[in-house]
Symmetry: C2
Subunit: 468 residues, 2 copies
């Protein structure tokens, strides 16, 4: 017999961004929701420094926020970033907008503030209970039972539920239980980049203002490495250094003294260094963390358990889509629930069938963008391409979207479609530029047709080769 939502016990493992949005939404739908979070309540303690203090928030994430009717409150936390501001070694800057349409931009948002808001809103529902300092140790997915340790008193306990949803991040315990049980064929990959990252900061100016342009995502691209900076509401910027662990003249393994770190920044990022008197302190206080991509399949075990968010598909941060993809997961799951509510196995199967191809795509796109940000953005032919894209988007706002726009601002299409179409367009424009280096835009309508036709041919060729 099917229980009504109110009788269904849903256990969510992990109260990060994805888990707290999910708890809120399932609370709104009437489920009896219990959330177990390993960490302390971030509304009561300071979150640890050096681990993605702020994030890019854009249209796909906003679909999730609209779903739970928090658009206005979230907007108050947002700082618009209209484009990339590129800094060269001499300190010259170029602003490269994210879109030729002025209403298309991304936002910098505080992970902590957003998570706190979602927790507050979730807890307003009587049918949602959130517990902190409860670490999941394993999941018996056949019995829909999870094992926990209460970190306050070291007691171990068991939680039973009708379904368990794991939003416990890149190191997911449910995923580990799938992997180690060997009870079914579990496809799994973890792939690390050669580079790690470290968070640094530009503190607010003495008057509390911003030391550099507020409304941009700043990039210092240097080919093999880069720093980026995103603004915070308090006037500071969170700076992230992306650098190889062991290759090149300067790398994480050999940046071992304050002098060497300062020399590195003096040589490569002199204008940033001027804004960062606290550089070496940050550098040696904050951890160096790896950059990994996780994919797996299946996400669900029958109608018992399901992986969502980073637990199912951790990605590298270079497309600014990690949180957005996780929020979109909640939107997609919610849509499948509208269709098949009452039959969890069907819900999980349909959700995975429609969603998996898109999270695979954003994972690959995010790795592409690593190379684009640290290297290609400084390449003249790439800058030419961006100029053409801007012109097309401005001139034909309803008929052209670049790959970046398709991925970031066209939230009505999936990541996979955005990737295929976007890559074909990139190839098309680069081919045109390559065939004629003195390429001059005369007739914009003709240019649009050329790019579109060429992209269509490329898509068709790929389709034929796959014999689909």
């Amino acid at each position: 017999m099917t229980k009504s939502n109110k009788q269904q016990n849903v256990l969510i493992i992990g109260a990060g961004l994805c888990g707290s949005l999910l708890a809120l939404r399932l609370g709104q739908r009437g489920y009896n929701v219990t959330v177990m979070e390993k960490r302390s309540d971030l509304r009561k303690v300071k979150i640890s420094a050096g681990r993605s203090i702020n994030l890019a928030f854009s249209d796909r994430g906003n679909k999730g926020i609209k779903l739970v009717e928090l658009e206005k409150k979230v907007q108050e936390l947002c700082i618009p970033m209209h484009g990339r501001m590129l800094h060269d070694r001499e300190g010259n800057t170029i602003m490269s907008n994210y879109s030729g349409r002025s209403h298309e931009y991304i936002n910098s948002i505080s992970r902590g503030d957003l998570n706190a808001l979602l927790l507050d809103e979730a807890e307003k529902h009587k049918n949602v209970s959130i517990y902190f300092n409860r670490a999941c140790t394993s999941v018996d997915f056949e019995k829909t039972t999870a094992y926990f340790k209460d970190l306050e008193n070291n007691n171990e306990f068991i939680e039973d539920a009708d379904v368990i949803l794991a939003t416990d991040g890149a190191g997911s315990v449910l995923r580990q239980s799938y992997f180690t049980s060997k009870k079914f064929l579990f496809s799994f990959s973890q792939n690390f980049l050669t580079h790690g990252y470290k968070e640094l900061s530009i503190l607010p100016a003495e008057n509390g203002g911003y030391k550099t342009f507020k409304n941009a995502l700043h990039i210092w691209p240097r080919g093999d490495f880069m720093i980026i900076a995103l603004p915070n509401l308090d006037g500071s910027f969170t700076v992230t250094l992306f650098l190889s662990y062991d290759e090149g003249e300067y790398n994480f393994n050999n940046l071992t003294t304050p002098e060497r770190v300062t020399d590195f920044f003096k040589k490569e990022f002199p204008d940033a260094l001027e804004l960062m008197p606290n550089l070496t302190e940050d550098f040696f206080n904050n951890p160096t963390a790896p950059l990994g991509t996780v994919k797996c399949h299946p996400w669900h075990y029958k109608g018992n358990t399901l992986l969502l968010g980073d637990a199912a598909h951790a990605i590298v941060p270079f497309y600014g889509q990690g949180m957005n993809a996780s929020f979109e997961d909640v939107v997609e799951l919610d849509a499948v629930l509208d269709q098949y509510e009452g039959n969890w196995e069907r819900v999980f199967t349909e959700y995975e069938k429609t969603r998996k191809k898109d999270t695979d795509a954003i994972a690959d796109l995010a790795i592409d963008n690593f190379h684009e940000m640290k290297d290609h953005v400084a390449n003249p032919i790439f800058q030419e391409k961006r100029k053409i894209e801007m012109v097309l988007e401005k001139e034909f706002p309803n008929h052209y979207s670049s790959k970046y726009s398709l991925v970031t601002f066209n939230e009505h299409i999936g990541y996979r479609e955005a990737m295929l179409r976007g890559r074909a367009q990139d190839k098309a424009i680069l081919s045109l530029l390559y065939d004629d280096k003195n390429f001059i835009i005369k007739d914009l309508k003709e240019l649009l047709n050329k790019v579109n036709n060429h992209a269509e041919t490329i898509l068709k060729q790929d389709e034929i080769a796959g014999l689909k």
Copy 2:
């Protein structure tokens, strides 16, 4: 101080095809080689039924056999297969050659016979010792020490060495030790197809002859599934059924009775069924096994340990390249040893740098070929493509090689180069066919130029898009 080869102790884990070739070669080079194998000595006991009794052996594998000067002895074990013989539901057959050049073909070879030969030859060297029934349980790669269990008496023991080379297959214990130790960033993937496989057989005719054409790899392509058959020296064929676990009208999960299995074959493979009175016996005696791809990185830990063969890169069997790739590993490692012998860390680093891109490529090609074999080979446009390739190879034997030929018979180039060039050619031919369905070959020289130019354009476009 560097020890001479004779003083260097090399421990090899696994005496399968790759491990025994490696032991032989390192024995020839003068190393003090100890090999530990989990299974019993296959020269003394019958190997278990149902797990790849025969294999495809071709030019890349033969490079390894030439290296150890066994070409003649191995040739005696080979049955040439000149092409694919395709069987439709009515029992009609078409022979589709592997190449337009008559000296290019692949061979069917018995895994057991070849492995036995390599073990015999390795043991002729006084400096090579091979132990069976010794199961590796873990490897301490920091100490270059491996832990074993003697399966004859259950005693546990430790082996120390200057280097440990793991050729212990897709379930490699060294690879597991890398993964679980978390002592370095270990990229790893295991990906399963939706299909599994089961080995069956066509027994010899009463007169000891072959019941169907001997010198071909037989395929019964049915879109979503297939059977294939490879000849054995004793007149039998080893037949393999590739079928989904749980999708489609017939699948491994629902083929649970002899009647249902017979119905399935009667409907889909009637001509094969006639040759297989032993079908249901085989079907229920032999295991159903999964089809997985394993990739990982790094393969080596400092100068201490190295993964080779399936342990480093297990692939699906559809390109007939599994053993060939593993033998090529030994050839490549041997070439790096020529350059850097005495410095194991350098040897391992250089080996992985040159080899990894190629084993990644053959892994991807093998998955492509799964779809090609079960489906595309029966597609008219694909058959047209094959015809064009045959014509070009026959007419321009020194100027054209299809993707299949590049991968299989052009052992002087790496898998990756073969993949890129081969895929571009496929796209080029399919585009020509697509643009003009009544495409008629008039001037062959013109056709060759068209295909080559189109392929070059595709390669150039891909290169530009990567901005390499």
